[in-house]
Every structure is written in C-alpha cells, then in structure tokens.
C-alpha cells in the first residue's frame, strides 16, 4: 500500500473517464428497461396470484417461488447460454440480431425482479381493506374491473416505495450483466483497472456512482413517504 501512487486523473478525465460514463449509461439503460418490463409482468403475476381460479394461482405461485429462490447469475447464464433450446427459433434469431448480451441480461433481470415486484404489489393490494372490493363488486363491477378501477390505483400508490427499492436492487443487480460481457459500469471499472492497474481509483469511482445514485433515490423515497403516503394514510 505504501508504494502505491494515487493518480485520480486516470478516472476524472480522458478515455478512461469516458469508459466509465458509457458504463453508467448502459447501467441506467439496462435498469430502466428492465424495471419497466418487470413492473408489467409483476402486475400480471400479482393479479394471477390473487385469482379465484386455483390453477392460475398455482402457476403464479410456482413462478414466484422458482425465480425468487434461484440465483440471478444462474438465470443470466441460463438465458445467455441456454435460451436457444427453450425459446422459439424466430424469437431467438431476432434476439441475436439485436444486442444479444444486453437482451439476455434484460430478460434475466426482468424475470428475476418481476417475481419480487409481484409480491410487493400483492402486499399492497392486501393492505387495501377488503370491504372496498366487496363494495365494488356489489355495485356491479366485475372482479377485473374492480381491480382495475378501485383496488390497483390505491395499491400502486402504496407500492411505490417498495418498487423504488426494487429499482435500486435492480440497478445493483445489473452489475452481474458484466459476466456475459455487457459493458455496464462495473464492467468498465474492471476494464479501466486492467488497462491502468489503478484498481483503487477505478473501483472508488464506480462505487461512488452507485452509492450516490442509491442515496439520492432513497432520499426521494423518504420525501414521497412523508409528503404523499403519510397524508393518505392519515385520512
């Protein structure tokens, strides 16, 4: 450690700085695309999980348990290396024509995160008093419509803080995409390290970005909790 000469210029300007910036861009892209998709799938799974039809409930339950209890890395490898045997050929060919590494990472992150989001949404829905559902049903709404117009709009508002939390987890989890060669932030930090041998500087820069990102978002959630949720619950 004593012999080590710090050289912060490596990561604050020039090519290596640009690498890190491009890594951050990919990290954000990956996280934003995956969170949007996993919210949609999570919503569907959550509604299925609360369905009155038993097989539908079982499918949703199986989905949740399986994807929550397997490591994300294994899921990433599965989609990256093994998707060609389970996806229809046309879909797979289309994915390969796109950016295949990025696409596999999005699929894996989406499915993994959607399982967690589904549970968050479900607990949001369960926290809405069940009289609301009964009232909606007795005024003639179908089950789906009562969900769509009465329960979900309230539940989603309650679910926003845990969802943002999932987004933060997703951002951190997206670092695993480096193992299949997606050039996101951790990948680029690793690249800078191997080109310059400046491990300390490279990892400090990347770590700071992650920590600042999550701190800012956490502050925003706290603000939301105070300004939006507290008054809503107070009523």
């Amino acid at each position: 450690m004593l012999k080590y000469k710090f050289d912060w210029a490596v990561v604050t300007s020039g090519t290596y700085f640009e690498w890190l910036v491009s890594g951050l861009k990919v990290t954000i892209e990956l996280s934003v695309v995956s969170i949007a998709l996993s919210f949609l799938i999570g919503l569907v799974i959550a509604v299925m999980r609360m369905s009155h039809v038993k097989p539908v409930r079982w499918i949703a339950h199986g989905y949740l348990e399986f994807f929550r209890n397997t490591p994300l890395l294994v899921q990433i490898f599965f989609w990256y290396f093994g998707s060609y045997k389970v996806l229809p050929k046309a879909v797979n060919d289309w994915l390969v024509e796109q950016n295949f590494e990025f696409a596999s990472a999005v699929i894996a992150l989406t499915i993994y995160t959607s399982a967690f989001i589904a549970e968050d949404i479900r607990s949001g829905v369960l926290s809405i008093p069940k009289e609301q559902m009964e009232a909606a049903r007795s005024s003639g709404f179908s089950y789906i419509r009562s969900m769509r117009y009465i329960i979900l709009p309230q539940a989603v508002r309650l679910t926003i803080p845990p969802l943002v939390n999932q987004f933060l987890n997703l951002t951190k989890n997206s670092s695993l995409a480096m193992t299949i060669g997606v050039a996101e932030l951790t990948y680029q930090a690793r690249q800078v390290e191997s080109y310059t041998f400046k491990a300390f500087e490279a990892f400090t820069a990347a770590t700071l970005v992650y920590v600042v990102l999550s701190s800012v978002i956490t502050l925003l959630v706290n603000f939301y909790n105070k300004r939006v949720l507290q008054p809503m619950k107070g009523r």
């Binding site: 450690m1 080590y4 348990e65 399986f66 929550r68 209890n69 397997t70 490591p71 994300l72 890395l73 294994v74 899921q75 490898f77 599965f78 290396f81 093994g82 998707s83 060609y84 045997k85 389970v86 933060l168 951190k172 989890n173 670092s175 695993l176 480096m178 193992t179 951790t186 930090a189 690793r190 390290e193 491990a199 300390f200 990892f203 990347a206 770590t207 992650y210 920590v211 990102l213 999550s214 701190s215 956490t218």
Partner: protein, 233 residues
C-alpha cells in the same frame, strides 16, 4: 421443446456438481457453496449484531459513522464489494489471500450491513418500557441490552435471519467471478467442456439452488407462524 433436452451430461458429472474434485482435489460444487454460505452467515451474524447495536448507539458520533457505513455498503453491488476485497486486501496486507476467503470476507461485509437492519428493527420492536423497567431495577444499559432486550429481540429476528441465509446462498454464486469452485463455477466449467448442453446444465443447477433455498424459505415461514402463535398466548 423439453423433449430436445439431453440430461446425460448431468448424470455423467453428477458427483462433480456436488463435491467438485474432492477427495482427490479441493472441495467444490454444492458442498463448497454451502460452506461459503454457512461461514459467511456465522461471521455476518456477529458483524450484523455489532453494527446494529452501534447504529442505535446513544453516542451520536458512533451512530453517525456506523449508519454511514451501513448505507454505503447497502448502496453497493455485491460484485463491487468482492472486487474491493479481491484487489485491496492483498495490497493492504502485502500478501495474497485464497479466493474463497476473499469471497467469505466480501459476503460478510455485505451481509452484515443488511443484518444490522434486521437487528435494529428487532430491537426497536421490543416495547420501550422493557428497557426503562430493566434500567430502573438498577441494570446498566449494556446489561439491560444483553439480559433483557436482546434475548427477546433475537428470537423475533430468527425468520429474517433465515431469509438472509437464503439470499446468502444465492449470493455465493458470485464467487464465480474470482474463480472459486462453487456450484455456478463448476457448472460453467462443465459447460465450457461439453459446449452443447448449456440449457440442461443451467436448468439443473437452478433446480439445485431452488431446492436448497426453497427448503429454507419454507423453514422461515414455518418459524414465523410458530413465533407469532407463541406471542399470541
């Protein structure tokens, strides 16, 4: 589609998946995964307990420093923590460390931060009156904590600890990145050797992880029910 899968590759390497090259070589596979998870769990239980107690300290400097540390670690991806350990520890200590120890240390740091939140929530879940009652019978803060608060709080934390253990088992798969021979790494080795069975291999190890993790998830649920029931009487 499933009909096109050929699982003989699993059968041929079954023992390798479970114990690696042991007994002829070092331990690997599922056995090493469990070893990493258990070792890190024990260490991060201790780390989490210490951090959790520090984060509710009445000394604001101690509190502020520990909360900042916890938040910083919680803001980092685990992969980053592993890289830090991998590159910095040898530089600081002047000698290399075996990769499996690097991973155990990284997992410990990372999970301690999460465990500390469980500990804090557990302690805050015990009614304030208990601490006041304990102190008014003449116990010091520390005595009241170790003899009155913690024994009750720890019991309530057990389900969350088990959940954390499940995350830990999943997280050990990241040891792959520094070349530790745990289950995921073993799987990529077999995949690189055979090349044409990736779907079968990763499906199989996903199942192994699932069986282990699901068992513990169910245990945690059962414990939660049991504890809730005992509190009710």
């Amino acid at each position: 589609m499933v009909a096109g899968l050929d699982f003989t590759v699993i059968k041929d390497n079954l023992l390798y998946f479970f114990i690696g090259r042991y007994p002829g070589g070092p331990l690997g596979g599922v056995a090493l995964t469990l070893y990493l998870a258990v070792a890190s769990l024990v260490l991060s239980f201790i780390g989490g307990l210490i951090l959790g107690l520090l984060s509710i300290s009445r000394n604001w400097v101690v509190k502020w420093v520990s909360v900042t540390f916890i938040n910083a670690v919680r803001g980092m991806p685990l992969l980053m923590v592993i890289f830090w350990m991998y590159f910095l520890w040898p530089a600081m200590m002047g000698r290399p460390m075996p990769e499996s120890q690097t991973v155990i240390l990284a997992l410990t740091f990372f999970t301690s931060a999460y465990m500390s939140q469980i500990v804090r929530a557990g302690i805050e879940g015990i009614p304030r009156g208990q601490m006041e009652a304990a102190m008014s019978t003449g116990l010091h803060y520390r005595q009241a904590m170790t003899h009155v608060i913690l024994p009750q709080a720890l019991r309530n934390m057990i389900p969350s600890f088990v959940n954390q253990f499940v995350s830990m088992i999943k997280d050990t798969s990241l040891a792959f990145i520094v070349g530790v021979d745990e289950l995921t790494h073993v799987a990529t080795q077999v995949n690189n050797r055979t090349l044409i069975y990736p779907t079968e291999i990763f499906l199989f190890i996903a199942l192994i992880y699932f069986v282990i993790c699901y068992a513990f998830t169910s245990l945690s649920r059962w414990l939660e029910h049991r504890l809730a029931w005992r509190k009710a009487i």
